[in-house]
Symmetry: C2
Subunit: 270 residues, 2 copies
């Protein structure tokens, strides 16, 4: 059996294709999508968390992931610009505050730059976007365009990957601190903040879609939006894996770093 | 020296960063970008043309490339919708005719379906978009959004990869016919038509950008648009390479086909 074919948990009773799901059934479907497709299942993350990447590979990850961090407030602003309800706008705008902070040097983007600093990446390089994998850009732009172009319900549903974030963040912080001498606790401050913010955001969005997806068609669109967002995150790791890990480390490796993308310095002693 | 750092041919005299290029200098820059970054340089193409792919891998290529073919008329329609000049619209609309044909079963999209038919892919699968690599979708959508959102000059410049197409098409047709018993001449009819259409289209677009890029800033934007488009094509092959080839064919291969993407049938005897 193809492990990738599972879209609902095996224990879940069969539901007719056009039957309205209960809110609890919708939530179960969303959680099953995460269990199968969230990027904590990607081989790159296993390597990152278990200390099997070298400094250049961790740099490539942090550099490319910065593009995602940089664009999250743009994504949330695009979403905010489509919300008619002031109550909902007041709640959603907090996400922009969380990422941009109250002042320069504050917020999630600034905290991500502490990580890239700690990894020895030049800030000019990081902030310029030079050296990004094109696939990173395309995935992040796909997310922004999705939020601009799809229904508000789908746009909100695409944020639901946050439901699965606390688990991966816990693994990441523990694993990176244990395994990499070039990573310290202050460098990982970004993740501490997200451990509080992500669950709040995710539970709000989950309640929203459970309440507002009132037809089966809308419920299916919510599930598709979460699958789409999982694809965004997954394809970013695919591109990192191809360019910076490869299937055969060692002498047989083909150089698959795309033209113009970041090239780590040679490892000392390599 | 890093081969990817070359952006101008080494023989080209150094030109000041803000000096207006002559039309011939602009053309030389564009051709140097293609010489470095067009996807004929990607390892996947060497494998495809030299017969080192199996049928499932060629299927995966044709299936994912269909998404690009399917969206080209959408891209050209988005571009057409931004052209104020009826003369230019009359010329550009021919591209839509070339891809959509005069009647059902005619045109470039229909000819690509002859190829996927010949490879044994189910038409419903191909036309549905199921099984596409997410990175394929993101790259193709990035192209459509680029044409919608950038200046008309940049949108037209992004089509300039056609300048380099005849060379790759010649290699592809000869190589695929020589090496794959599951590929026949009629299955490759798409490429015969493109051998005539691509040079006409490319020369028109090249003349257009040489005439209309009147500041160095515009000339740089034209070059950036071509680099962007090379990245679109390159990242599609990166994703195919990771999912369906990998760096280490054989027992050490990790399964990198993303969740939900096309899985070839096992090779007979494999």
């Amino acid at each position: 059996m193809n492990a990738h074919a599972i879209e609902t948990a095996p224990s879940e009773p069969r539901i007719a294709d056009d039957a309205l799901l209960t809110p609890a059934q919708l939530e179960a479907r969303l959680r099953a999508i995460g269990a199968e497709r969230y990027h904590d299942k990607h081989p790159f993350h296993a390597l990152l968390h278990s200390g099997r990447l070298n400094r250049g590979q961790v740099q490539a990850w942090a550099l490319n992931r910065f593009e995602y961090q940089r664009c999250i407030p743009l994504k949330d602003a695009a979403l905010l610009a489509r919300i008619e309800d002031p109550d909902l706008r007041r709640i959603w705008r907090q996400r922009i505050v969380d990422h941009d902070g109250e002042r320069a040097g504050d917020g999630g983007i600034a905290r991500w730059l502490h990580l890239t600093d700690a990894l020895g990446l030049d800030r000019d390089l990081v902030e310029s976007g030079r050296g990004l994998l094109p696939a990173t850009r395309f995935a992040v732009q796909a997310y922004i365009h999705f939020v601009r172009e799809r229904s508000l319900l789908e746009a909100i549903a695409s944020s639901l990957t946050e439901l699965f974030a606390p688990n991966i963040i816990g693994q990441r912080v523990a694993g990176m601190l244990a395994h990499y001498d070039f990573v310290s606790k202050p460098a990982l401050a970004y993740f501490d903040s997200r451990l509080h913010q992500a669950p709040q955001d995710a539970h709000f969005a989950l309640d929203y879609v459970k309440q507002h997806a009132r037809s089966r068609e809308q419920q299916d669109a919510v599930c598709a939006a979460l699958r789409f967002k999982c694809e965004v995150l997954w394809s970013m790791l695919d591109a990192l894996y191809l360019a910076y890990v490869g299937n055969a480390p060692g002498e047989d490796r083909i150089d698959m770093i795309p033209p113009g993308a970041f090239r780590p310095d040679p490892e000392p002693g390599a």
